[in-house]
Symmetry: C2
Subunit: 285 residues, 2 copies
Amino acid sequence: MLFKQMTIIGVGLIGGSLGLIAKQKKLVEQVVGYGRRRGMLQKAVGLSAIVRYFLSLPKAIEEADLIVLATPIGTFEKIGREMLPYLKKGVVVTDVGSVKGRWVEKMESILSPQAFFVGGHPVAGREKSGVEAARAELFQGSRCLLTPTDQTDSSALKKVTTLWEKAGANVSLMDPFDHDQILGAVSHLPHLAAYALMETLAHPKIARKKPVQYSAGGLRDFTRIAASSPEMWRDIFLSNKEVMVEMIDLFQETVEKIKKKILDEDGEGLFEIFDRAKEIRQKDV
Amino acid sequence: MLFKQMTIIGVGLIGGSLGLIAKQKKLVEQVVGYGRRRGMLQKAVGLSAIVRYFLSLPKAIEEADLIVLATPIGTFEKIGREMLPYLKKGVVVTDVGSVKGRWVEKMESILSPQAFFVGGHPVAGREKSGVEAARAELFQGSRCLLTPTDQTDSSALKKVTTLWEKAGANVSLMDPFDHDQILGAVSHLPHLAAYALMETLAHPKIARKKPVQYSAGGLRDFTRIAASSPEMWRDIFLSNKEVMVEMIDLFQETVEKIKKKILDEDGEGLFEIFDRAKEIRQKDV
């Protein structure tokens, strides 16, 4: 047993899946849920993602030696301040948010020295959401990024690492700000491009021809991306604002460069770009 | 038998697959190939995509009552002019190019009244290329767009329609210029966005963190799109230049609009856009 009581704040797809695997692999003695909607928490109990729940945050966390923040990032600060007076000394607090950077700094400054905070980001399938979609295998073979700082307690980091490894994930450690740059590039910017594409197709100038009924392979991949949770992506873009704006500017520059090559009928220049794109895939992904 | 001799100009993935299914379903008596590389044509014979080949264009087409242009769009005009003196009166010429519009007008003006031109575009999987990837089932359940004009011979259109239907495709008819708007929206613009994204990730400012090794689901869909044939996409973008430039402008406006909402921390505005994107998928695709 790594922990006696794990309290999951926000029992959705990720929190619920962690609860399921923690129980199945006996990683913790007891999994407790906290949330605001009783119906959802009851459903989570029914699915065995948690064994019991509280609608009171102090009650949910006062006995916990591990707290997992699995609510939208925008709620972390408020929840952190609310929990603070009731935390057991030395409790490990981790999160599953898609943005780290200054959020890690903020949580550290709110919670320490009472609790040990470890920033975490399981990069797991997110097309569906809600505890109904939770499953014990969700993290099997997936990547989990942990983002320690020089404030991070090494024993807390070790325990959280073991938790995710036992859940089936491949854990990598990285700086919280590097994390936001890297995920900005491989996840947030692609989602932004997909959303922008779908929004462009909804423009009256294009939509009047009803093109989507003729959807080809290219578009289907985009619609899959753009079908993710709008709430989650709103929060990610706003939480990673500075990085996103910088990357969007680079993206726009690149689109402009390609457009200019089309206008100039610069076939060689286009070929070079398209060929490079193919190589990136073959080399790295 | 719909035709006695079908000559395929350019025996790659699409031409080769059409040859295979035409033979299998006995849609034509004889499938002949034309190309410039003997080795490739020999391979096509070996795979039964064609029964024989010519390296001389006049020889390849002089007996044909159906000619299928399956080379890059940029070559159509030159091949059309070269074929003209040798065409059998009343031969049906069709193509498999991804752009129609003015290319259809051009081919009609070059070939008529000697031949009957019917613009065609089988929308089939194009991730792989080359005759090695050809298979008789490629068009099964796929869409084939034919683009008649008021010049189109109705009996030629009927025969080409039947050919694609027997090959397993669902045939739709549309105006050649509408075709380019529609495919521009559901195929060309998505590919442009994917290429622009990959090129952005190759920018030194981003690439120095080596993000691609942490590739998540979002990026993998893009890399799949961007792995298509660079030659083909260069030709498509240049052939559909006017439509592309217009759509790129709309796309950039949209990216800028989303960026502004991020900068303004307009969560409600972002949610609206992301939610609409989800709806487009659920409704139409």
